[in-house]
């Protein structure tokens, strides 16, 4: 891992990012000037209380949303001024998402949910392989409703990694799981980060998780209040939940 840190290739460069939501009478300042970098191959953890702007931040770097001001660079690609089509292409080529509520398509089986992505990717894995990576090769033909929350989340992860994305963005992937299943999900994520070298960012409001990370960003009130780099990482099974 030290090799990676030495290289220090920035995948995302964020400069003075702000996001304001205009809802009715009040303006919500979700991000108030965030600057940071996420490096290739690193596993970053984003921590902070609810409403501190974590999801907003991740949505913007993932091309799901656009900033009010500031700049987001994905390598040489400027996302700040990108059009809807450019953002769609960016997501399609480079980003895998995992969300708190799994967001599987209920009418598709596990394999089909993964195939949904591999079909539109240029260099995907086989859906079966992606599911095997998260230990679900046996549940391939089950519908979401026939799986537990943890299994569904692992399908979501398989779906996110199946296209061999450069970055994997996970918004509270363990948020609706108990500690045991949460651990399984985190194991899948760290394993992918280790084995495939996928740049990964995980949002959590569970502080323990930072022990898995190369880098931890602490959000509060729309700002990054602290950034911490650690070289002593634990495995998910070593976490005290």
């Amino acid at each position: 891992m030290s090799i990676r840190q030495n290289k220090k290739v920035a995948v995302f460069t964020v400069e003075d990012l702000t996001k304001t939501y205009h809802t009715g009478e009040v303006d919500v300042y979700a991000l108030r000037g965030v600057s940071t970098k996420l490096y290739q191959g690193e596993l970053s953890v984003v921590l902070g209380p609810s409403g501190s702007g974590k999801s907003t931040f991740m949505n913007i770097i993932g091309g799901l949303d656009t900033a009010t001001s500031g700049r987001v660079m994905f390598k040489d690609l400027d996302l700040s001024g990108a059009s809807e089509t450019e953002l769609t292409n960016f997501r399609r080529r480079h980003v895998g998402f995992v969300f708190q509520f799994y967001n599987l398509i209920p009418s598709l089986t596990a394999r089909e949910n993964v195939a949904l992505v591999t079909e539109i990717s240029t260099n995907p894995m086989r859906p079966e392989d992606a599911l095997a990576l998260v230990g679900l090769e046996k549940r391939m033909n089950h519908f979401p409703a026939q799986m537990s929350g943890g299994e569904q989340q692992r399908v979501a992860i398989a779906r996110a990694i199946a296209k061999n994305p450069e970055v994997l963005l996970c918004d509270e992937p363990t948020g609706s799981l108990d500690s045991k299943t949460g651990r399984l999900v985190l194991e899948a994520l760290t394993r992918i980060n280790d084995e495939l070298g996928t740049t990964t960012a995980i949002i959590s409001h569970n502080a323990v998780i930072h022990k898995l990370a190369h880098r931890t960003l602490y959000f509060a009130d729309g700002e990054i209040v602290r950034e911490q780099v650690s070289d002593k990482r634990l495995t998910p099974s070593q976490l005290e939940w």
Binding site: L64, R91, R92, F97, N103, I120, S121
Partner: protein, 787 residues
């Protein structure tokens, strides 16, 4: 298959009852479009081909007696392509096995030449041999009605002479595609037949040797019809020519025209209703689907699916629904088209029928159906495409219910909370509630439109047979006779009373308008055949002046007090001026009436009688009919009871078919609208209703929230449907209107009542299917899933 398409298929499988309900509505639109346009084209094309192959004439005229030599001059009129002179004469028929006399029309065929115009289609047998007395070809339907075959014989009285007809062949003619006997409202082929005989034979029987009394012309392309008519009128005037007329006034052709007009009207009204309702229904379920799948849409976009791919996904669902509808519509349209065509072949006599099953009708119907569906689904598909992914995945904000006005609050305070819930939901989506109501009311309107004809036809029967023409029979003389002839009829056994009439062909002109009509002279105080004013009260004729039917007055632009100039066509076109003294109601033809004595005074020939209306002793029919059959001067007879019976039979059959079709159509609309709207309500409010159950409300109480909303919509839909139905019916009556006949516009209360009953039953059943789901509401699951 693409994974997204698998989702599509499964969505469709899950939504199938709703989707099918919409497909059915759309199918009705497609089917009625194919039916009306396809049948229109078939009928039009069949007629066109028949006319062309059989050289149907374009101009017709009659005279009392014109010399054969005149034909040469007629043929020389500029623009005339072909001309055929002939003798046409009514004949009274005495057919074995028939107590009552029948009517026939004898039409002459050239002796040695073949017919050049109005050519016959010989179904069987051969043409009569010139010189062979009594040999005749008869019309196909007439022959069938009596079980005649080649060689059969029957008797008739032609201008006072007994004739024995011997059938040599059976034929059809483009002149008699629709053939009405005297006084009939619908064809009765048992009592009316056409008889073609050689010229020499007919001339001998009618004493018209070397003469003709009827002429038909065809024109060269691009010829002005009025110019030829004027020239022909000039040539025939000295020979008792009654003004020539074109195809539009030719009876059989005019009936076909009116049928075609109705099909056109149908194509313009009914399919659009279904297209509109399906567009609305698709809009309703698609917007619900997009709302339900908000997060899935967000996810698809997060995964990198483009806006186009996402909207295409929903458009495909619309396509699946509409294609299902199109396929069902194709089948139903073809089937109904076959049925209607069969009905037509019963009514109209064509030797062949050209089915215009052309691809373009189907493509057009499919195109319009799919376009309507896409239009309905477009907004949802676009809104799905434009949902920003980040927002899409955040749960939607709870629906904002607006605070009601002071009145609303007061109203709410008087109702139970459940009723308030129903009301709030109803007014929260006013557009959707409005359209649901409108869709349901269209079902009611469609039924009113189908059922009003019962009332109108009954009203017409009552007016025509029991208030206007109350005679038992109308006997018309072969030539106008002196008034003493009436007394002879009066003396026949079983005749209780008689009332004479005189018919004169005139050309009426007023301002720039001009019409060829028959004017009927009647006694001032009519007892048997009466006239009714606009309010349908019997009138007595003024001692002088004209009484016009509404429609004729309209054509002439004439009002009471206007002076009409009339040319008496049978009297050398001698012109007189007469004021209009009254305008009356009439459902048939273009009637004009005058006191018979006044008409006699106008005529230079003096008093004449064309025939008599008679009242018969119901117990002495046999005697009376025998006497009439033997009556030398009778040319034709119209029998009211027979005519009414046939009319009732025919109309009842048609109305029954039509009503059945309309009931099916209306039930499909009602089901489509109510079922879908109930399903969507249930889907939108599942959480709310489950919460109510958690709070301890019973299943019935919870169902009530849904029922109340549907009931309000259904109730409001009734009066709206009545009003729309009244409007549609009025449009139908307007569409039916022609110079031949009009239908009175009478919508009986029972039409409204039955329409509502059918729609309410269909709606209640559809709603019930959905409401039974409230009972199966899985409280736990509903509350656990995020909305």
């Amino acid at each position: 298959m693409r994974t997204l398409d698998k989702k599509l298929l499964r969505d469709f499988k899950r939504l199938w009852p709703q989707a099918l309900a919409i497909s059915l509505v759309l199918a009705c639109g497609v089917a009625t479009l194919i039916l009306s346009i396809g049948t229109y084209r078939s009928l039009d094309e069949t007629r066109r081909a028949y006319y062309e192959r059989h050289q149907f004439a374009s101009i017709f005229a009659t005279a009392s007696r014109a010399p054969q030599s005149l034909m040469r001059e007629i043929g020389l009129i500029s623009g005339v392509a072909g001309a055929q002179g002939r003798i046409v004469e009514p004949v009274l028929l005495d057919i074995t096995g028939m107590i009552e006399p029948a009517s026939g029309l004898v039409v002459s065929l050239p002796d040695h030449d073949t017919l050049r115009l109005n050519k016959l289609y010989l179904r069987s047998g051969r043409l009569p041999t010139p010189g062979k007395s009594g040999e005749a070809v008869v019309s196909d339907r007439f022959s069938k009605a009596h079980g005649f075959r080649v060689g059969s014989t029957f008797a008739g009285i032609l201008q006072g002479r007994q004739v024995k007809f011997q059938i040599t062949g059976v034929a059809m003619s483009p002149e008699f595609i629709y053939a009405l006997g005297p006084g009939d409202l619908v064809p009765d082929y048992r009592r009316f037949g056409v008889i073609w005989m050689r010229q020499q034979q007919v001339a001998g029987l009618t004493k018209l040797d070397g003469a003709f009394n009827s002429v038909s012309l065809t024109l060269l392309p691009g010829t002005s019809q009025p110019a030829v008519i004027a020239a022909l009128d000039r040539l025939l005037a000295p020979y008792g020519g009654t003004a020539a007329y074109g195809r539009k006034d030719q009876m059989s052709n005019a009936f076909l025209d009116s049928e075609l007009k109705q099909l056109q009207a149908m194509a313009g009204v009914i399919p659009p209703i279904f297209m509109f309702v399906s567009a609305f229904l698709i809009n309703m379920i698609m917007s619900r689907l997009v709302a339900l799948e908000r997060e899935q849409i967000g996810l698809l976009k997060a995964l990198g699916y483009s806006q186009l791919a996402v909207s295409a996904h929903y458009v495909k669902l619309v396509l699946v629904i509409s294609l299902t509808g199109v396929v069902i519509g194709f089948a139903a349209g073809t089937w109904l088209g076959d049925g209607l065509t069969r009905l037509y072949s019963e009514f109209f006599n064509f030797p062949f029928f050209i089915f215009q099953r052309s691809l373009d009708v189907y493509l057009l119907a499919a195109g319009i159906g799919i376009a309507a569906a896409l239009l309905g689904g477009l907004k949802s598909a676009l809104s799905a495409a434009s949902l920003p992914p980040a927002t899409a995945m955040r749960p939607a904000a709870p629906t904002l219910y607006r605070k009601s006005s002071a009145f609303g609050q007061w109203l709410a305070s008087t109702m139970s909370q459940l009723t308030v819930m129903a009301f709030r939901h109803l007014v929260r989506w006013p557009l959707r509630s409005g359209f649901t109501m409108l869709g349901t009311s269209l079902a009611v309107a469609l039924l009113v439109t189908a059922m009003f004809s019962f009332g109108s036809i009954n009203f017409m029967i009552d007016t025509v047979y029991f208030r206007t023409d109350r005679q038992d029979a109308t006997i018309s003389f072969s030539t106008p006779l002196a008034p003493t002839a009436v007394h002879a009829v009066k003396k026949l056994p079983g005749v209780l009373s008689v009332e004479p009439y005189r018919v004169m062909m005139v050309q009426m002109s007023h301002g720039s308008h001009s019409r060829r009509v028959a004017i009927t002279g009647k006694p001032q105080n009519m007892r048997l055949s009466r006239l009714l004013d606009i309010e349908l009260a019997p009138i007595s004729l003024p001692s002088s002046g004209l009484v016009l039917s509404e429609r004729l007055a309209m054509h002439l632009g004439a009002q009471r007090g206007d002076v009409i100039s009339m040319k008496l066509l049978e009297e050398g076109w001698h012109e007189v001026k007469v004021p209009v003294v009254d305008i009356i109601r009439s459902y048939f033809g273009l009637g004009a009436y005058m006191d018979i004595a006044a008409l006699d005074r106008l005529s230079r020939i003096g008093p004449r009688r064309s025939g008599v209306y008679v009242e018969l002793d119901a117990n002495r029919h046999k005697e009376i009919y025998a006497a009439i059959k033997a009556m030398p001067k009778a040319a034709s007879i119209a029998l009211q009871t027979q005519s009414l019976k046939k009319f009732r039979e025919t109309i009842e059959q048609n109305i029954t078919i039509m009503t059945t079709v309309y009931i099916v159509l209306a039930v499909i609309i009602a089901f489509g609208v109510v079922y879908n709207s109930a399903r969507i309500q249930l889907s939108e409010r599942a959480r709310e209703l489950a919460s109510l159950r958690v709070l301890g409300f019973t299943r019935n109480e919870v169902s009530r929230v849904l029922i109340i909303e549907l009931a309000i919509i259904l109730l409001v839909a009734q009066p709206v449907g009545w009003i729309l139905g009244y409007g549609f019916s009025w449009a139908v009556v307007r569409g039916f209107q022609s110079d031949l006949f009009r239908i009175p516009f009478v919508v009986q209360n029972s039409a409204y009542g039955w329409s509502s009953i059918v729609v309410i039953i269909a709606s209640v059943l559809s709603a019930f299917i959905v409401i039974s789901r409230v009972r199966q509401l899985d409280i736990i699951r509903v509350l656990k899933t995020k909305e």
